[in-house]
């Protein structure tokens, strides 16, 4: 059962990273088209709008994968002197804090969409080509929820097996 849920989580993590990666490639393309177009007197209309919203996908798309492969930076100065249980506890607390943060980001971002759009009827968009913020905030909600979900699974895994389940990152 746990393994099945973990498989789903992995699938969601990959999907999220896929969107982030596509966003990155699109980001390069958008800015290059704008720069080249401007050189010849016709820049890409709304390039900055696209670049800004693309960044949202890039930044949050990679969050879950970053956590899965242990990409977050921590202070390992005292790791050598710590007993095993303390390292376990640190991993466990990290997973819980991380989950709380990303649940917080997902929940409050959803709140801001709900409040502005559905309660007050305000649809905020970018200035030149009217990309709706809410779609990109929704992406933050979903991607943060996936990240939080994966962290909760890790915390459970730490209790069940004692293993933190993070892949080591290794040199690319």
């Amino acid at each position: 059962m746990f393994a099945r849920i973990k498989n789903w989580a992995d699938w969601l993590i990959s999907l999220s990273a896929l969107i982030g990666t596509i966003g990155l490639v699109a980001e390069v393309a958008v800015i290059l088209i704008d720069v080249i177009g401007r050189f010849f007197g016709s820049p890409l209309s709304g390039a900055q709008d696209l670049a800004q919203m693309g960044m949202v996908l890039i930044v949050f798309g990679g969050m879950a994968l970053c956590d899965k492969i242990g990409g977050h930076v921590n202070v390992d100065l005292f790791e050598g002197t710590m007993p095993r249980w303390m390292i376990w506890a640190g991993d466990f607390v990290s997973a819980l804090i991380g989950a709380a943060i990303f649940i917080g980001i997902a929940w409050t971002t959803w709140q801001s969409i709900y409040l502005m759009r559905f309660q007050m009827g305000i649809v905020q968009t970018t200035n030149i080509i009217d990309l709706q913020f809410d779609w990109f905030k929704a992406a933050i909600v979903v991607m943060s929820a996936i990240t939080a979900f994966a962290m909760i699974l890790r915390a459970i895994g730490l209790i069940l097996t004692g293993d933190n389940g993070q892949e080591s990152r290794g040199h690319a």
């Binding site: 800015i31 800004q52 969050m63 921590n74 980001i105």
Partner: protein, 434 residues
């Protein structure tokens, strides 16, 4: 309990969480969030979580983070970084620590185009760390060089640090840029001197390579031609106004991708790996930056900077003493805050003191920027070191801080020189702008 005390307790809690190996971003979020909840309200802290996440992720200036990482990753995947370091090795590898010096120069060059310490440390780190390892350089030296060298980004113009300082203090951006040039070059020389001393004391840190013939030098330089061309085109494009430093990150990434494909060194699989790796590193770096904002708000609400300002004004000691205390405060704040956040938080409070004491504001700007950068690489919490760690996950933070220590002292020496001889900073702006 006074708000200042809550602020102080928060910072202590941050140290403890970090010591327990809680990831840096998580620890800063936890402390910042709790602090804002207490000093403002839980609802405000929650809302800030959402609004900062969105507005920082959508901040156009930060596009350089993923794009320069992508440029570094593709340059590495296609072997362009390797070719660049082969060439550097052929020219100066026979000198002890020569590659480390070349890396510092590269940091300085990159600084001249990017204006950002984070971008410099990330890009040069991605390109250079595995290369120096290949030539048996010690991890301590190589990561130390990159973390410290990255700090040149904010001293050598164009520098976003000086722009922020100028806008906060109404000083001239042009004068500040000029004032940063000589101190930047001085610091660069100090870094190279440090490398020479380190490798002289302990040659195994950066071992000497074989002598090469002139034709070997030329052959390796030809091999590095594509990446050298990318660098020339990128810097050239900025200075001729074809694109901005932010856009340069996309141009640089686009060019290495193009050359990689043309040379048959980049297939889809390699490209995708480089791109996905960039997205992951971006997540690491951006989460740290977002969490640093939370800490900034917490500190602002705690009124600690204002309290420090009042304290400074009340001191009956000579100007140099006040200056020393101010710089010491920057060093300590630099432990927790990203450089710009720190400037925004402190300048409205410190600058009136500076003006009152008759300290030259341009000179002070240079001192502040240099001190900020020292804070960013000083243990136990140095944001620049964390950033380098994100591209060198295999090297322990302890090693990095040990490696960065000598360079920190080089910066301290530079700072002392600048305090003793303000002309180093002021001669260019004074002679070139009436």
């Amino acid at each position: 309990m006074s708000v200042e005390l809550i602020g102080l307790l928060g910072l202590i809690a941050l140290f403890i969480l970090l010591g327990l190996r809680i990831p840096v971003a998580f620890a800063m979020f936890a402390v910042g969030f709790t602090g804002v909840s207490i000093l403002n309200s839980p609802q405000a802290a929650l809302s800030q979580l959402a609004s900062d996440s969105f507005s920082l992720a959508a901040k156009i200036e930060l596009v350089v983070v993923p794009l320069f990482i992508l440029m570094g990753n593709v340059a590495t995947e296609t072997g362009m970084s390797r070719k660049l370091y082969d060439a550097a090795y052929a020219w100066i590898g026979s000198i002890r620590g020569g590659l480390a010096s070349a890396t510092v120069v590269a940091c300085g060059g990159f600084a001249a185009l990017s204006g950002s310490s984070v971008a410099s440390a990330l890009t040069i780190g991605r390109v250079s760390l595995s290369e120096m390892k290949r030539f048996d350089y010690d991890d301590r030296l190589s990561t130390g060089v990159v973390a410290a060298g990255g700090t040149l980004g904010i001293l050598i113009p164009p520098s976003t640090g000086f722009v922020i300082y100028a806008l906060l203090t109404q000083e001239s951006i042009g004068r500040l840029f000029l004032a940063g040039v000589l101190p930047g070059l001085l610091l660069l020389s100090m870094f190279i001197l440090t490398i020479m001393v380190i490798t002289w004391i302990k040659p195994s840190m950066g071992p000497k390579g074989p002598q090469t013939t002139f034709s070997e030098k030329m052959r390796s330089t030809t091999g590095a031609a594509p990446i050298l061309l990318v660098i020339v085109l990128t810097i050239g494009g900025i200075y001729t106004g074809i694109f901005s430093p932010v856009e340069a990150s996309a141009v640089g990434a686009g060019l290495v991708i193009l050359f990689g494909i043309l040379m048959g060194k980049l297939n889809f699989k390699k490209f995708w790996k480089a791109a996905q790796d960039s997205v992951v590193t971006t997540a690491t770096v951006m989460l740290i930056l977002i969490s640093a904002y939370m800490i900034k708000t917490f500190l602002a609400l705690s009124h600690i900077p204002a309290w420090l300002g009042t304290y400074l004004e009340s001191l009956a000691i000579p100007v140099l003493g006040v200056l020393a205390i101010m710089l010491a405060i920057y060093l300590i704040l630099g432990c927790f805050l990203e450089g710009f956040a720190m400037m925004v938080l402190s300048m409205p409070i410190f600058f009136p003191v500076v003006q009152q004491l008759g300290i030259d504001p341009i000179w002070f700007g240079v001192l502040v920027v240099l001190t900020l950068e020292m804070g960013l690489i000083s243990p136990p919490v140095g944001l620049n070191v964390f950033i380098v760690k994100s591209v060198a996950p295999d090297v322990s933070l302890g090693k990095m801080f040990r490696g960065v220590a000598p360079f920190w002292f080089a910066m301290l020496a530079t700072l002392a020189l600048l305090v003793a001889f303000p002309q180093i900073a002021l001669i260019l702006p004074d002679t070139m702008i009436n």
